[in-house]
Symmetry: C2
DNA sequence: TTCGCCATTGTAACCGGTTACGTAACAAAT
DNA sequence: ATTTGTTACGTAACCGGTTACAATGGCGAA
């Protein structure tokens, strides 16, 4: 593998000149530059970005640390980040904390010297711990996480408000007894959604202790919830799952028990996964532009890298949008296969 | 930010000793090591991986270059790669060629000096071009791409065989006139699937020029195909879309036209996206374990990095599995109940 | 002609680690 | 006591670029 010195020797110039010629700096005669470029071609020289970033103290790379790499949620975030990063010629170094606190520390430490900034999503981590791991000197933007005292910029989804809105919508459609299928207890998003639900029930319907069934964001727990609902004879005319995944299970479970949706009971989810619109009936849900979560965070990071000082005050909150579909009785498209009504 | 020399000074030893102590090499007295470690703690020293990899000539990072970052396909690949990479303490540097040839070259070049090996997926690239871009010295494994003459190891999906199998299954179910909705013309996967279809039709049904409608892997093109099918009065009792996405559109389009699936016409897809089993009726398709594509490739790369020499001969071909569901009339679950069962 | 100025080019010191090699101290062997 | 071996540690040369600063040389001005 040819190095800059090889190129310089081949072109009969010094490394400094070679470097300047290659990087298009001024102060280089046309013929000299040509000679260097010829050598570059001949030796097939490709600059060694590692060495380059060492002296430049700039890596043109941002580290992205996620709790997991599973599912659409993360792929959308990454896509959003990449979109913006790519425009600025930045690369993405992926770190995966695999759910463990210890790995989180390792992942962050491993980024030192390889990235100019960090995008971190630490869903189940205490802020104090995070503070220990994070390097104060390394620009960092948090994903979907308000570090509170840490004064780090972040971008998050307003889960509370989303849940509030959905609950409000269900009540507006005539539901009286709404059940919430909660997400994992330790999960912030889940807790915020639950709070939104509870508050809406209290404020709008005047219900003090609305029914809440446990869940863990998985499809299976949605099915479980359906069973509890039916077998437990829980009176309910609407079920609001903390995410779409569970709503899918819920619908399946209800169907299994012979309940019709939305006839007997309305169902709503949260996230608007692609599957949602394809269910039959299609699933009403709160739409979150996950990719924007990533791109917005990346933009903030770029601003910091450009010299701006951003704190928690510059946080961006994305508000989910209500998408009313079939499971809440608002499906425009009836049953397609029914009559022979051609279009 | 503390450097190794700071640590050494603080501990009253030389940089060499500090380095050895930190890296747990032998040749260091317990007290000396303790002193160094104390200094590390005190100064909050974190090794600079950039510098480290420069002298070590080892980055513990693999570059992953994908044509795009959109959709489940890529997120699954990345997840598969990460799974294996993580076990070996490797990091992932993401490169995105954004569909352009020029960017591909740039993406590959940018990897020089930052990675120990490359995982590249260049769907629409001519092998000769690829050869120009790729650095012979950098271990590389191709994803879903047989570079032919290049003698690079690769892991791919047997699209031809998958399509053949599906066509065979449709014919076995009694279909006589099967239509294929093709993918993008320049896409290898799409072409292989089409070949598999054509060959199966010829060999099994003795049909010479089976009907093929154009498509581009998008849901919209599936809808288009359905319109062509219906309006064109194309006689067909089965439609085999080159991917699930188009199959979804196809089904929607057929429903719109009042055709029932699988009553009037059977439908099949390819890929087994999560949505497939949730459609109503559920979609028959060829299941591909995309994550294995990534993990297998990563494993091969690791072997190369460990010193083995792998060529095109060590390629791995993943065979898709037939998943018969409702759209080909083989839905076990008449009642929607089974939709909830975990698979 | 001589001097000074400026643009071009070269020398060498970094960046922050790793590690080959050398040195010193001490134990065991001769 | 001298030699040899072993171990712990230090010095300095890298890795492959960038860049401050010095050197060179061409050219116009005095």
């Amino acid at each position: 593998m040819a190095t800059l010195r090889d190129v310089a020797r081949e072109a009969g110039v010094s490394v400094a000149t070679a470097s300047r010629a290659i990087n298009g700096l001024g102060n280089v005669t046309a013929p000299t530059r040509a000679a260097v470029m010829a050598a570059v071609k001949k030796l097939n020289f490709v600059p060694h970005s590692g060495a380059r970033s060492l002296t430049r103290r700039k890596t043109d790379t941002v580290g992205v640390i996620l709790p997991d790499l599973f599912g659409e949620f993360f792929s959308e975030i990454i896509r959003g980040i990449d979109l913006v990063a790519h425009e600025s010629g930045m690369h993405l170094l992926l770190g995966n904390m695999h759910g463990s606190t210890h790995e989180t520390a390792a992942a962050i430490a491993a980024m030192r010297g390889r990235v100019d900034g960090l995008l971190v999503m630490p869903p189940d981590l205490k802020p104090e711990l995070l503070a220990d791991y994070l390097d104060a000197a390394l620009p960092t933007v948090l994903l979907n996480y308000d570090a509170g005292s840490l004064d780090l910029p972040f971008v998050a989804v307003d889960n509370y408000r989303g849940a509030y809105t959905m609950t409000e919508a269900l009540l507006a459609r005539g539901a009286r007894q709404v059940v919430h299928i909660a997400g994992p207890k330790h999960n912030r998003d889940a807790r915020d959604r639950q709070r939104g639900f509870v508050d809406a029930m209290a404020k709008i319907a005047g219900v003090r202790n609305p029914a809440i069934l446990p869940g863990d964001f998985s499809e299976g727990s949605g099915i479980q919830a359906a069973r509890l609902l039916v077998q437990g004879q829980l009176p309910a005319d609407a079920a609001f799952a903390a995410n779409d995944q569970m709503a899918v299970g819920l619908i399946a479970g209800l169907a299994e028990a012979g309940k019709s949706v939305p006839g007997d009971i309305m169902v709503a989810g949260f996230d608007d996964i692609p599957l949602a619109r394809h269910l039959n009936p299609s699933l009403s849900t709160m739409q979150v532009h996950i990719d924007r979560l990533g791109s917005t965070a990346m933009m903030m990071l770029l601003r910091i890298l450009r010299g701006e000082t951003l704190g928690a005050a510059s946080a961006t909150i994305l508000t989910p949008a209500l998408i009313a579909r079939g499971t809440t009785g608002r499906d425009m498209a009836q049953k397609p296969a029914a009559a022979g009504a051609h279009e």
